[in-house]
Amino acid sequence: MKCEICNQQKAETVFFRVAEDGSEEELYVCHACAARERAFEQAHGIQVAAMDAPQMPNLSDLPTPPDAPPGDFEGFPPPMGMEMGEPPLEILNQLKRALGKEIESLDLPFPPETDTPKCPTCGTAFHTIQDGGNIGCANCYTFFRKELTELLQDIQDCTHYPAPPPAWMKDELLLQQLQVQYRDALMREDFDAAEALSKQIETVKQRLKTPPTEEEGRNEP
């Protein structure tokens, strides 16, 4: 589901706000919109009823079984959000990033940050991109291909660019294609085909190395 305010990011949290007629409305929004709305309302002196996680029911509000001694909740389902034993590492990491230095002093079993996969070229982690940040480099698109495919599907409803490749890119794409075929030929031990492909790859590489001619260079608009 998409954020009901910006309609672009994925909805990540629930935001309650008081409408003009006094009724409380519930919106599914992204973190950025939730933070912005909260800051706006606080700046205008409006009582904010926002939360970033499903509201925990108050334990004292739960009905007490007639035969059970006071304070004993055995047999009742645990309150929402408390049913899991250990919180997933991903949530712990997100918490750590959100709270920053304030919880560094606490001795909590957080896994080290190095566990998060980062792009080898620019060092960008995927959560940085997901949190509304920019993509670090072109290699991120290869490194996070699976995750970015899902992200682009969410944002743009499509993951394929339909235009034909530009003329200057045709050799590059041909090279990539030939390299895949070359690897396949080696895998099936078809050395004749591999040799022919190798020659073709060299030809294309030579073509790519050739700098633009002076005439092309002076091709001014």
Binding site: I135, A138, P162, P221
Partner: protein, 371 residues
């Protein structure tokens, strides 16, 4: 004029006063502008690409231009002064293509390495997009852009991946706002893959300025995106014109009342706020488009030019040359008493005084009497 018989370009120009088209490109094998990359590399590459553009394409480096620093964002949607990254470069190309004059901007090292952009107030969106594509393809002969067979052009923002295109139009939709049908128009935009939102320039409740931008950039080619985008705005423009006609023909007394208030503001008020002035002007433009007011002769009060300077604190940008050069003689005599303190509201009020004399059209007055 019957909106159904209206030419698409005419309809488009009635509501849309500015369109910004940008094409983002990144160089392969060089990180995008992000904190992880050493900034010295950014400077070096910006210098290299800047020289390339200046050498082969006769771009002119205008990074240090003081006027563009302060006014560039308002008039051309260029990165504002305070938000320019350290290695930022701004280049301008004035060229003639297909017998038309074009001014192309190239911003280096914003979020993306290259951002080619153009800001126009004409309906030639497709033509301008092709010009940008042409320039980008020419640059691609010298610089290898990041391209993927599946995703197209790779950009720093996932929202622009694919074609790298971003298009935004600023529109004036008073008819639909008064008819209270803007929510439906925005829903229609959503369906058509266009993102519409209210312009929050003045955060005024009566604001009838909206901007629309493309939501997707990967599903179609730049030309197709722009063509669909324009088709939606033309449709919207026809609906807007229909709403204006309903206002002028079915409820002329309401329009007359609104226009009389606007006239009073232009004639009498000395300290109008920017939002009420813009609202009054907006009513005037609407009235002119449906023939309730005689067309405004003075070009400085025309629709396409007024909005930009109204975004300023006063009519300073119109009088900018005189103000900058301290040329008091170039200012109209009525401004002189207020010149010393540069009281913006007062200057604006004086500048707009002639609009208070704009006559109602006889046909419109007849219609009111008849009603």
């Amino acid at each position: 004029m019957n909106p159904n018989q209206m030419d698409g370009d005419t309809a488009f120009q009635q509501i849309c006063f500015k369109t910004y088209i940008a094409l983002a490109r990144n160089v392969a094998d060089f990180p995008f502008v992000c904190p992880n990359t050493p900034s010295s590399k950014h400077f070096a590459m910006a210098e290299k690409w800047s020289q390339l553009l200046q050498r082969y394409f006769r771009f002119e480096d205008v990074t240090a231009d003081e006027q563009l620093r302060t006014q560039g964002f308002r008039f051309h949607r260029l990165t504002p002064d305070g938000m320019r990254p350290p290695a930022y470069r701004l280049l301008r190309l004035d060229c003639v293509l297909q017998e038309q004059q074009h001014t192309i901007w190239c911003e280096l090292m914003t979020e993306n390495h290259f951002t080619f952009s153009v800001t126009i107030n004409t309906p030639d969106l497709v033509k301008q997009t092709r010009v940008l594509e042409f320039i980008a393809d020419e640059v691609a002969k010298h610089v290898k852009f990041a391209y993927d067979a599946q995703w197209g052009y790779l950009t720093a923002e996932p929202i622009r991946t694919g074609s790298g295109l971003f298009i935004r139009s600023w529109t004036h939709l008073l008819g639909l706002t008064l008819a209270d049908t803007m929510p439906q128009a925005l829903n229609a935009a959503e369906v058509k893959g266009v993102f519409g939102e209210k312009d929050t320039m003045y955060e005024s409740a009566s604001s009838e300025f909206y901007h629309f931008s493309n939501r997707f950039s990967i599903n179609l080619t730049p030309t197709q995106i722009v063509r669909d985008f324009k088709a939606f705005l033309v449709r919207l423009a026809k609906e807007e014109h229909r709403a204006r006609l309903r206002l002028a023909y079915d409820q002329p007394a309401i329009l007359f009342d609104l226009l009389s208030r606007a006239r009073f503001l232009f004639q009498q008020v000395y300290l109008p706020s920017p939002e009420e002035t813009l609202y009054a002007l907006s009513l005037y433009w609407t009235a002119c488009s449906v023939g309730a007011l005689e067309p405004l002769d003075a070009p400085q009060y025309q629709f396409a030019t007024c909005f930009d300077w109204m975004a300023d604190e006063c009519c300073e940008s119109h009088l900018l040359p005189a103000i900058r050069e301290q040329d008091v003689q170039a200012l109209p005599a009525a401004f002189l008493p207020f010149w010393k303190n540069r009281d913006p509201e007062m200057l604006r009020a004086l500048w707009l005084r002639p609009l208070g004399e704009a006559p109602f059209s006889p046909a419109f007055l007849n219609r009111i009497n008849h009603k």
